[in-house]
Symmetry: C2
Subunit: 525 residues, 2 copies
């Protein structure tokens, strides 16, 4: 309550009308202009003020834990990296080839050093976020294909990245900008692609960043470029860039991902340890069994991070999907997977770890009804399961292959609604409200009351709630068309809020990239 | 768990492949045929086996209750009906014009006679459902417009009703057929429209029915026609037809609705007492205040039913919507309204009443992304708030004005996923699953395992989870197109499961209608 007048999060949300404005005399155009000119105010870290949903009782959580301990100890987890195997051996695990059998006591003692909460710094301290506990942040997706500002789906190219980062910067409910998950720039050679993927968010946004770590070089370059922006000493002591390593489920961490993990862990930078769940394919089709496997896999990653540098932030995580028994493709809308999301939250809290879930993705190719279903199911699930970090919070289609700019804005609006929900139910003002009811009796509605004008409910402006005739007159737009319009309108406002990057720093970043592109390996800063 | 092989709820859901079938050699057409030929098995009443989500603590619930008691007593509720006013006066309420000030003690003692659970009989006992407690049933919407099997939106006519009822009968996750909410038959005169609205579901379905009670005559005719089908004595002692009365919020029950309510209450038939919430217009924009108003309004209706015939089933209910501050239209996707849905469940349980919520509706005009959002948000919310009766569970657009046949099937599939979720997480088979993990190690995936084939996860078949190229080759269908195909395919199967109605009973119903149409008032049976 009382937050109604604060819904000024971007052009996707109207500011309230002035109390004295006569709504009936305003035309649609002027209302649209009003919405477009509402100030863009970036949302701070959301602090949840609602209870969470728990699908199993304590006994169920214990059962998942015990099963996970059986898995890590008896079956083991494979690490395809000599250094990781050596570290595990030294720590007292039983290493058999690539397979590491981790004693539960060792695993539990290792994850204890991972912080339950931590701060992820942005280059603008006002955008710095807090991860863990009751905090929740939203993070955008990547993709190999883009559905662009004209609504055309095609391979993503370098010039798209600027636009994506700028649009994301304007999406005020989104807390973090992206480096990971990657926008695959098809016109940039793979060995130097990561340089642009990290430069763009550093240059065009001042939100906290993430970076890929799919190779040792990509990870090292990400850290080095952050050192240019934040200063080497600051980076050594603070979290400034997060990355994600997927586990190759079942129970395998491959060499290239481990290289990236090691670089980030050594630098004390956050690592999201995320098994890639294809329920019924990479895990058994059994919620408790699958969850135990995910716990084993994710904790194995978190523990390795702690072996490398105790105290480094590491997130419990899950990338939960179903699988089409027809094509083997990832599938959304699977209720057993929904159950796993809630259970993931319970397990993360059981282990005292911050945790991440992938948010409103869909297997759809277009912004259709099914994409809308998938987005909403996962959006509210992420919230009520207590996820601290909700990735893919805007625009992900084709199971993550397509970044759709129209859906980017639509999803952000959906997530903004979740955030309003998450602020909880306030009992403040109740006396005022009851007095208003006494005064009105049942003679009138509340639409014209001062209290209503001062406490406007959240309005999902990208939805169509006009009459049928008004909708026809406005060109029969579907959600996709409205999202596309909103994306174009929002991007035009980027220059209003473009963050400044010190030209000397920008120059140093460009020099670093140029050196790398020339094949230099020495880090110059 | 273990329910995987039981997802045979209609052509919208594939049966599992035979264990020995080579999936890779089967073409898309044969898989589609297999799905189309899966047996149609009607779902029984769903008994929830998951915890519910509670957004306020006991103190918050008490605060809503106390505020509601203040409202009914101090502000009062208006009943625009002399007989109702007399009943309230005799019961000890303070009647002031149409305004009834109900002492909280009186209200609480009255609602105590409403049963916490009851049975709603179908003419086929196998379709009989249970309302209240952990039970959950799904009920379809009505509409003035239909988007038909060709995908054309137009006014609904008499011949549509047969199709709607038949399609609804084939939708196996849907428990109840419809009479209420009305399909507005534009080619049938208003005074006799209700006769067809109740005949069709009695004739073409054997699921439990609902009926409109917008007038004394409509209500009496519904009861009379049920007496023809069930026998007068059975109807006198059992619930066979439910109706809904909307409260004209704030705090008014109008005369025509009260006439209908009285007829149903006298006949001992269930009445759903549902305030029509336009959050910020018909209620204050304050979750606790608005909820208190809804409690006051709904309980006033439940109590009147008990005054008329104690022990008659009466449901606490809410029709929760936001309101567009631009156009005054109902609006979905409003997070404060979502909070009210969860709180409604808590209040219903506090009062020991079964309760109803309106399900996956949308303000959208078409089956688009936003309609998908709205449907999914309300679907899972209805489930996790513990609603016993989820109405509008298939096809509602334009805020209830349009019944969309494609969305009818899409929504039913979404609700089916909710039902699988609601069955809960089982720990059975865990030993088997862990042994399977031991056997597989991390050498293989689980897709080919016997256990997986015997326990297939739920697959949302109306979603597109193929590759992009396969989607293009299949004609770039969106969710709407897939829903429309599925609706057409499903309806073709109606004859396989058409329920028999005793020809003598059918004749008697037709005779009753003919007499009414000729202006006769005597009930002949």
């Amino acid at each position: 309550m009382g937050a109604g007048s604060k819904h000024d999060l971007g052009s996707t949300s109207a500011g309230p009308p002035g109390p004295s404005a006569s709504r009936s005399r305003r035309g649609r155009e002027s209302r649209r202009a009003e919405r477009l000119n509402a100030p863009l105010v970036h949302a701070p870290t959301l602090v949840r003020n609602v209870p969470l949903y728990e699908i199993l009782d304590d006994e169920g959580v214990q059962l998942v834990h015990q099963t996970a301990m059986t898995i890590v100890h008896e079956i083991g987890v494979s690490f395809f990296d000599e250094e990781s195997l050596r570290l595990w051996k030294e720590a007292g695990a039983d290493v058999n080839g690539a397979r590491v059998h981790i004693p539960p006591g060792l695993l539990m003692s290792l994850i204890k050093t991972a912080p339950a909460e931590f701060v992820l710094h942005a280059r603008n301290p006002e955008r710095t976020v807090r991860i863990g506990g009751r905090n929740m942040i939203l993070h955008p997706p990547g993709g190999a294909y883009i559905c662009d500002l004209s609504g055309v789906r095609r391979r993503a190219v370098k010039s798209d990245l600027d636009i994506i980062v700028k649009l994301n910067h304007c999406l005020t409910p989104i807390h973090v900008t992206t480096g990971w998950p990657a926008i695959d720039l098809s016109d940039v050679p793979v060995p130097i692609r990561h340089l642009h993927q990290i430069y763009c968010p550093l240059r065009y946004s001042d939100k906290p960043i993430t970076a890929n770590s799919y190779s040792k070089e990509a990870a090292e370059d990400a850290i080095a470029m952050c050192e240019i922006v934040f200063g080497r000493e600051f980076v050594q002591r603070n979290a400034v860039v997060a990355t994600l390593t997927n586990c190759n489920s079942p129970l395998k961490l491959d060499g290239s991902m481990l290289e990236g993990l090691k670089v980030f862990a050594r630098a004390g930078q956050p690592v999201i340890c995320s098994p890639f769940v294809l329920y019924g394919a990479s895990t058994p089709p059994h919620v408790v069994g699958a969850m135990a496997q995910v716990v084993a896999e994710s904790l194995a990653g978190v523990a390795l991070v702690q072996l490398i540098r105790p105290g480094t932030p590491a997130l419990f995580a899950i990338a939960p999907m179903g699988v089409s028994m027809k094509s083997g493709s990832p599938t959304w809308g699977v209720p057993e997977v929904s159950q796993m999301v809630y259970l993931s939250g319970q397990m993360a809290r059981f282990y005292g770890l911050p945790w991440r879930v992938s948010g409103p993705k869909s297997g759809s190719k277009i912004v259709d009804f099914c994409a809308g279903n998938d987005a909403a199911v996962r959006a509210y699930q992420s919230l009520l399961s207590g996820a601290n970090w909700i990735s893919h919070s805007g625009g992900s289609l084709e199971g993550g292959m397509q970044l759709n700019l129209a859906k980017m804005v639509l999803d952000a609006k959906l997530m903004e609604a979740c955030c309003v929900f998450a602020r909880g139910v306030s009992t403040a003002d109740l006396d005022t409200v009851v007095q208003m009811m006494r005064d009105l009796g049942n003679e009138s509605h509340f639409l014209g009351a001062d209290y209503t004008r001062e406490n406007l409910p959240f309005i999902p402006h990208l939805q169509d709630n006009e009459t049928y005739d008004a909708w026809v007159a406005d060109g029969r737009k579907d959600g996709f068309a409205r999202g596309l319009e909103a994306a174009n309108a929002l991007l035009r406002r980027y220059s209003d809020i473009e963050p400044v990057l010190d030209p000397a720093v920008d120059e140093a970043l460009k020099e670093f990239i140029a050196k790398r592109e020339r094949g230099c390996t020495a880090v110059g800063a």
